[in-house]
């Protein structure tokens, strides 16, 4: 693939190009280790995120969605590729590692983590956790720290007295609010939400989802929302990208994708989700077999061994992610 499949546009805030993350698989000998293979966790993916939208990134475990997000914020080092934030290739800046430059980027992009029980330092009060961004970035004069701290707490629906509590005194939902407040403390433009509700109780999920939508409107945020829970994706996202084994297989506006999935994998994923209505035929399996190991990615279309419509061409030629009418991108030889 040489030409960019993703047209760059004015409205794009983030442009990820040819991002790859390979993990070498080594067999350890007595004296040295030998590389015996590689796991292609993220295998040359490109996409854009528009200013002010929420892009949902969905897929099953091991499809590379979290790896993609972590690579964008350099929590892991990508093997190759670039991620443009405006005109700046953030991955290049991280690789160079000049502190002023990386801090500038960290102020624009933030991350909300999956597990609120692990994402707060158990030894720190909420105030300490929320003031850390101020300490690092110094973007707020120290005299205003208290005022900003209270503002942040109120922004995410917490009270001032919560600041002196420790994480163990909070419920999961409240902790996740703190995690969101920490991400917002640097006033970012772009926030990656990595399964922000999947470890929360059902009755609390709606609160956090509403909060995310509300904050997006209030602060003009752009989200990358990663989840395996397609119901919440449907609620928060404007566009959705479906990943399978390290590749994006389909990408479209949320309602288009959910009501007319064109890739056979997207379709299988959607029909597999049980719906809280006994009369709706859902939660059914149309796929045989399981996801192959990312160490042995099939030749040709990587979905062909499980695909009901696979033909000879699917076994040999890998379909590129190409425009498929409207706003949709699709990587399939025989779309539904």
């Amino acid at each position: 693939m040489t030409a960019d499949v993703v047209p760059a546009g004015e409205r794009d805030l983030i442009r990820v190009e040819h991002l790859r993350k390979l993990y070498p698989v080594r067999r350890r000998g007595v004296f040295r280790s030998r590389q015996t293979g590689e796991i292609r966790a993220v295998d040359d993916i490109s996409f854009t995120i528009r200013r002010g939208e929420t892009l949902g990134l969905v897929g099953e475990s091991g499809c590379g969605k979290t790896t993609t997000a972590r690579a964008m914020l350099h929590l892991i080092e990508p093997t190759s590729g670039s991620a443009f934030f405006g005109d700046v290739d953030v991955l290049e800046v991280f690789a160079e590692g000049r502190r002023e430059d990386t801090l500038k980027i960290r102020r624009r992009m933030q991350y909300v983590f999956q597990d609120p029980y692990l994402s707060l330092n158990p030894r720190w009060t909420i105030a300490q956790t929320l003031l850390e961004p101020f300490r690092v970035h110094r973007h707020v004069p120290e005299a205003d720290w208290h005022r900003r701290l209270v503002e942040l707490l109120h922004l995410v629906g917490l009270e001032e007295y919560h600041a002196w509590r420790y994480p163990h005194e909070f419920s999961g939902g409240q902790r996740q609010r703190v995690g969101i407040a920490r991400a917002l403390a640097v006033e970012p433009e772009f926030v990656i939400c990595d399964e922000p509700v999947s470890s929360l109780d059902v009755s609390v999920r709606a609160q956090i989802l509403n909060l995310l939508v509300e904050l997006q409107a209030k602060l003009r945020l752009t989200y990358l929302y990663i989840s395996h829970d397609l119901s919440s994706v449907r609620f928060v996202s404007n566009r959705v990208a479906v990943m399978y084994l390290g590749k994006i297989v389909e990408m479209a506006a949320v309602d288009e994708l959910f009501s007319h999935p064109m890739h056979h994998y997207s379709y299988a994923l959607l029909t597999a989700i049980p719906v809280p209505d006994p009369d709706v035929p859902a939660g059914r399996s149309v796929l045989v077999g399981e996801v192959p190991s990312a160490m042995r990615i099939p030749q040709g279309c990587r979905f062909h061994p499980r695909c009901p419509a696979a033909t000879e061409v699917c076994r040999t030629v890998e379909p590129p992610l190409a425009p498929a009418g409207g706003d949709r991108l699709l990587a399939c030889h025989h779309p539904r």
Binding site: D115, P122, A127, V136, W145, R182
Partner: protein, 312 residues
């Protein structure tokens, strides 16, 4: 419910001292009987060590009992634990052994902790090649027959030092032993530190700090190390007991510091008279036993308090 009278305080700075985790640990520890027994034993040893100069009935080097043909005398009111074959009051000597034991235990573990935390921390945080090299280095230290090396070094050093200006340093021999015990005692601490660092550096709150842009120093000193401390405290407490025991063995073999009064040395002086004056061996032996037991129980209790299995 902690309410917020601190509203005014916050305007100046965030609260600096977080008591949460330690206080929780203490509450769990208090309910742990064996742990409290250990703590009590350790406290007794520490109190004795601090006050031995005042509570001991005789001077530590008072051999006057010898003049009255009172050596190897069984317990009497004058000598509660009896006297030994050189006319020392056993009780006095045992009391004076406490500061030596604590100095050895704490000193050796201080040295070991500094080295262990540094090496384990670097190894765990950096990973990769540095980890590989440092861990091989640690394993190398684990296979050295520590005891023989220490005995050899102590003896050789004792010979080399004769006639040099170093000779005038008090307790030089004891300090050598402390240093050597520290130098060979760090691998277990390094391994524990590495394991904790490996576990903690993958935790989401550490990643969150990296996302914020915190420096590596901040991440290590403010996020990872404080959360690793509970496990380290446990292993250090265990190590203190071990070091005390090791010093007792060294002294028992006659390689100890002749000028320092140590329980092992008391055993060394008196074991030949075990049949005629058993009290002179039993008292220091029991002191070693109680102290080491105390530290081990303390470590056990701490480990239960900080790593509760059944978290409700």
């Amino acid at each position: 419910m902690t309410e917020a009278p601190a509203a005014a305080a916050l305007a100046t700075a965030p609260p600096a001292r977080p008591p949460g985790m330690w206080r929780q640990g203490w509450q769990r520890f208090r309910r742990n009987r064996t742990g409290m027994l250990g703590l009590t034993l350790v406290c007794i040893v520490v109190l004795v060590a601090l006050s031995c100069a005042w509570i001991a009935p005789y001077e530590p080097n008072d051999q006057s009992a010898m003049m009255r043909f009172g050596s190897r005398e069984g317990p009497t009111w004058a000598h509660l634990f009896g006297t030994d074959r050189m006319g020392y009051d056993v009780l006095t000597r045992v009391l004076y052994g406490a500061p030596t034991a604590l100095a050895v235990g704490i000193g050796a573990m201080l040295v070991a902790s500094v080295i262990g935390i540094l090496i384990g921390g670097i190894s765990g945080y950096l990973g990769g090649m540095a980890d590989e090299l440092l861990m091989r280095f640690t394993e190398f230290f684990l296979v050295i027959p520590v005891f023989i090396v220490i005995l050899a070094v102590v003896r050789l050093f004792g010979i080399v030092v004769v006639g040099s200006p170093l000779e005038s340093i008090p307790y030089l021999n004891l300090m050598t032993i402390i240093l050597l015990l520290g130098l060979f005692g760090w691998p277990s601490i390094a391994r524990m530190t590495r394991a904790e660092f490996l576990r903690l550096k993958e935790m989401e709150f550490v990643e969150a700090a990296r996302c914020i842009g915190a420096t590596r120093r901040d991440i290590i000193l403010r996020h990872i190390l404080p959360n690793a401390l509970p496990s380290l405290v446990v292993i250090v407490a265990l190590g203190i007991g071990g070091a005390i025991l090791a010093e007792a063995m060294i002294s028992f073999l006659g390689f100890g510091d002749p000028k320092a009064i140590s329980w092992g040395q008391l055993l060394f002086f008196n074991y030949e008279a075990l049949k005629v004056a058993p009290w002179a061996s039993i008292a220091p032996g029991s002191a070693i036993f109680m102290t080491v037991l105390g530290f081990n129980l303390l470590a056990d209790g701490l480990s239960d308090a900080f790593n509760p299995r059944l978290k409700q």
